[in-house]
Amino acid sequence: MAQERLVAGGSHPAEPPPVSQARILWRRFRRNKMAIIGGAIVLFMVLVAILAPVIAPYDPVTQNYPMALKPASAAHWFGTDDLGRDLLSRIIYGARNSLSAGVVSVGIALVLGVPIGMISGYYRGFWDEVIIMRITDAFQAIPFLILALAMAAVLGPGLSKAMLAIGIGFTPAFIRMARAQVLAQRDLDYVQAAKGMGASDARIIFLHVLPNIAGPIVVQASLATASAIIAEAGLSYLGLGIQPPAPAWGSALRFAQGFLTRAPWMAYYPGAAIFITVLSINLLGDGLRDMLDPRMKQ
């Protein structure tokens, strides 16, 4: 072995060590400073959500009427709301609900949409073109938020129901995306080779094709997470998402609207939290897209 290595090394003395695909992608990603900033903020928000019980200065639901509608101070950095609750603590705990709403909704859309889209694109034919695609068209013809609202109306308010409604609303986009990607792959040599070697369709779809289309799906999932956070906040703003007294960024804005002249800070911070989170996810998503498909970089 040592002899072999010596010979190999001696025959190509100037050849650089092979660079892994992951390293190439990381180098590409690292060049995008905005994506790095976005990723750092997303990571910070995730840590805030996880460590909420440790870092929140107050209990987010305990009411303290003598402290109601107090502006920012050393004791309450973001001020207090109309029930005397600490706004910073409610925003920290709200991160848990908002981020989980984004991740779970997109998770539902991924789990439902990607397999349906992949199978549909792989087999094509009547089921694909007449049934699946037309149902997708029908769902996409209904404005997403109106569909989510209608579902929330029949299912009733609540975080889990809002997540389900948003997840189902996003599913058609993932079906279309996965299908389009599979259509581009299904006639490539590696798929034909796997077929020739007798691999089952399920094996080809999920073990061979899926890793090759994972990049665009990851990008779409990251950008959809940003939209899902806004959608959940929108449903909560309308009173159909997370129910009080649980802290949520969207419902905080609804209650803030009644105190715009007396306590404008009640509206500043929850909205800023949504904005910064969504912006950083979008920056990260753009960076992932540029990393996985540099031709898209414009």
């Binding site: 905005m34 037309r134 149902i135 068209d137 029908a138 769902f139 996409q140 013809a141 209904i142 404005p143 997403f144 938020l145 109106i146 569909l147 609202l149 209608a150 579902m151 929330a152 109306a153 029949v154 299912l155 940003a226 806004i230 906040a233 929108g234 703003y237 309308l238 009173g239 159909l240 969207g250 804005l253 803030a256 609207q257 715009l260 002249t261 404008p264 509206a267 929850p270 909205g271 800023a272 949504i274 904005f275 969504v278 912006l279 979008n282 920056l283 753009d286 414009q298």
Partner: protein
């Protein structure tokens, strides 16, 4: 003679195209009708009991079951509902017994006006910024424009709406914070009442359109014919406005079509923030009152609107790009 024949041929092609597109809309609308109809059956338990509440007298629950047709087989219920919907009868509101069609008709003008103003505002902001940032690619203006576009895409429009109310209505007292004045009552008050809502919703649309236009223009500016036009000595703005922008607009129009559904959804919340009695507000009110016939009718009508607007956009698309014959639309 020849020109007359040509016009006739074109109008025949347009007619054939429209017929084909409308025919394609029918099965999708049928599926939308199934989705809208199914909503009531997604309610866990007895829908009539859930709508009226557990305290409702048994006779009232039975009467509602009968009114909603829940006592009949599912297929019969759907056939009856669809038959009525095809004749324009979307049922009656459970709350005030008004026909759903009438309620939608009453609320639609405000929403259509707001949507048009939002779209106009978005285009007015997006086109100059999109052109300028692509022409000055890599410069400070491009960086600022691109960051602003990404920020516009990320800002929750309901928060932007609240911030605009705080600034322009409560602090500077320049514009009304809420309410709507119909255009036929007072056009000036009507316009003033819609500026903030249109801006709140339009910021995102403007941001998305700016990004599409910039990306599309950057692609077009690399093309040979643009270089040739420049080499012939044409002024830069002539090359951009006359040659590049027209071609760059094609994908932007496609994107605008896709945004219509998002815009309509966005207006639901905007109308709630600014208390505009529009179509979106009708849906929100119906949802809180569990007025299922109104929700079903609104879902069906919203899909119909989106599909009609997309049909119109397909036609515009064919007009902007003469290479596209009126044969298959956007596919």
């Amino acid at each position: 003679m020849r020109s007359g024949g040509g016009c006739g041929e074109v109008s025949n092609r347009v007619l054939a195209f429209l017929t084909r597109r409308v025919a394609l809309m029918i099965p999708i609308l049928l599926l939308v009708s199934i989705i809208a109809f199914s909503l009531i059956h997604l309610i866990p338990g007895d829908p009539a009991l859930v709508i009226l509440g557990p305290e409702a007298p048994r006779e009232t629950v039975e009467a509602l079951r009968k009114q909603l047709g829940l006592d009949r087989p599912l297929v019969v219920q759907y056939a009856a509902w669809l038959g009525s919907a095809l004749q324009g009868d979307l049922g009656r509101s459970l709350v005030d017994r008004q026909p759903v069609r009438k309620l939608i008709g009453q609320r639609l003008p405000a929403t259509l006006e707001l949507a048009a103003l939002t779209f106009l505002l978005a285009i007015t902001i997006a086109v100059p910024i999109g052109i300028y940032t692509s022409v000055r690619r890599g410069g400070v203006a491009d960086w600022i424009g691109s960051v602003a576009a990404l920020a516009g895409q990320s800002i929750p429009h309901f928060w932007l709406g609240i911030m605009l109310i705080m600034l322009f209505s409560l602090q500077w007292k320049l514009l009304p914070a809420s309410g709507y004045v119909p255009i036929w009552v007072n056009w000036k008050a009507n316009l003033l009442s819609l500026i903030l809502p249109a801006f709140a919703t339009g910021a995102r649309e403007a941001a998305v359109t700016t990004r599409y236009l910039r990306a599309s223009l950057l692609e077009v500016l690399k093309q040979d014919y643009v270089r040739t036009a420049k080499a012939k000595g044409l002024a830069e703005w002539v090359v951009i406005l006359r040659h590049a922008v027209r071609n760059a607009l094609i994908p932007v129009i496609t994107a605008s079509g896709l945004q219509i559904a998002a815009l309509l959804g966005g207006l639901v919340i905007t109308e709630t923030i600014f208390t505009i009695p529009g179509f979106g507000r009708l849906i929100v009110d119906a949802i809180f009152q569990r007025d299922i016939p109104v929700v079903q009718g609104a879902v069906l009508f919203a899909a119909f609107m989106v599909m009609t607007v997309n049909l119109v956009i397909d036609i515009i698309y064919s007009a902007v790009d003469p290479r596209i014959k009126l044969s298959g639309g956007r596919g």
